[in-house]
């Protein structure tokens, strides 16, 4: 890829990462949530993989690491959804509304759902791009 694309994507990449974390963690206050933020997080890694090649993107996150993170997030999400009725009031308990540290079990599930969707996208893209 040309020098212009490499320079611009190197500048844009931290802002995409920060914006995706903002969309995930403020999922119970503004429009957005787990899935939208997870797609943004995966898009930033895919941008680096498109512009710099697969070998440089492996320095960010390898494929075996993504497999392990996805498995752990899947198990945590299943446990949290099945027992959500009992631990609804005690996780992130606070009496004030409209704050980030409030809202029951919803911010925790947003973060775990976002991680799972992001790693799934990364695995699908790495499988299609890898040669030999």
């Amino acid at each position: 890829m040309t020098v212009i694309k490499q320079t611009i994507s190197r500048i844009v990449f931290p802002f995409m990462l920060l914006f995706s974390i903002y969309v995930i963690t403020h999922g119970h206050l503004t429009p957005g949530g787990g899935f939208q933020g997870g797609v943004l997080l995966a898009s930033s890694v895919i941008l680096i993989c498109l512009v710099y090649g697969l070998r440089k993107a492996e320095h960010l996150i390898r494929e075996e690491t993504s497999h392990r993170i996805e498995a752990v997030a899947g198990i945590l999400l299943a446990v949290l959804v099945v027992f959500e009725f009992f631990i609804k009031g005690s996780l992130m308990a606070s009496e004030s509304l409209f704050q980030v540290w409030s809202g029951g079990a919803i911010p925790v599930m947003n973060v775990i759902g976002g991680i799972m969707v992001a790693t799934s996208f990364i695995i699908i893209f790495y499988s299609m791009v890898k040669e030999k």
């Binding site: 503004t30 429009p31 409209f98 299609m128």
Partner: protein
């Protein structure tokens, strides 16, 4: 109602793509277009006259339940978008395997089962 026509046009165009075109990748894109038309139709059905988005802020606590739009179709469409992505990913990878075996992407030349 005039605003339901646009989602219907998406569905009809997607069905045309799925049936008439001969390339396999164009057929898969037609399947995805049908899904997008259905999402548009469902979300348009939940509109309300003079509606605001279903987010509670400190300003509109009192008049929220009188003006907001329907939140249930939006939640169902969120799930459906991810399912559409999974279908497209597996269909495209199956078409790559098909190309490796038959050396062509033309659907009118696929006559032989694997043997």
């Amino acid at each position: 109602m005039i605003e339901y026509v646009f989602g219907t046009i998406f569905i009809i165009l997607g069905a045309y793509c799925l049936v008439v075109k001969k390339n396999i990748i164009k057929k898969i894109m037609g399947l995805s277009i049908i899904t997008m038309g259905i999402h548009l139709l469902i979300i348009t059905m939940g509109y309300r006259q003079g509606g605001i988005p279903p987010i509670i802020t400190p300003e509109n606590l009192l008049t929220f339940s009188q003006y907001s739009v329907d939140p249930l179709p939006q939640a169902l469409v969120l799930t459906s978008i991810v399912i559409d992505l999974s279908i497209t990913a597996i269909a495209l990878s199956i078409s790559i395997l098909l190309f490796e075996q038959n050396k062509t992407l033309d659907s009118s030349k696929l006559k032989v089962l694997k043997g």
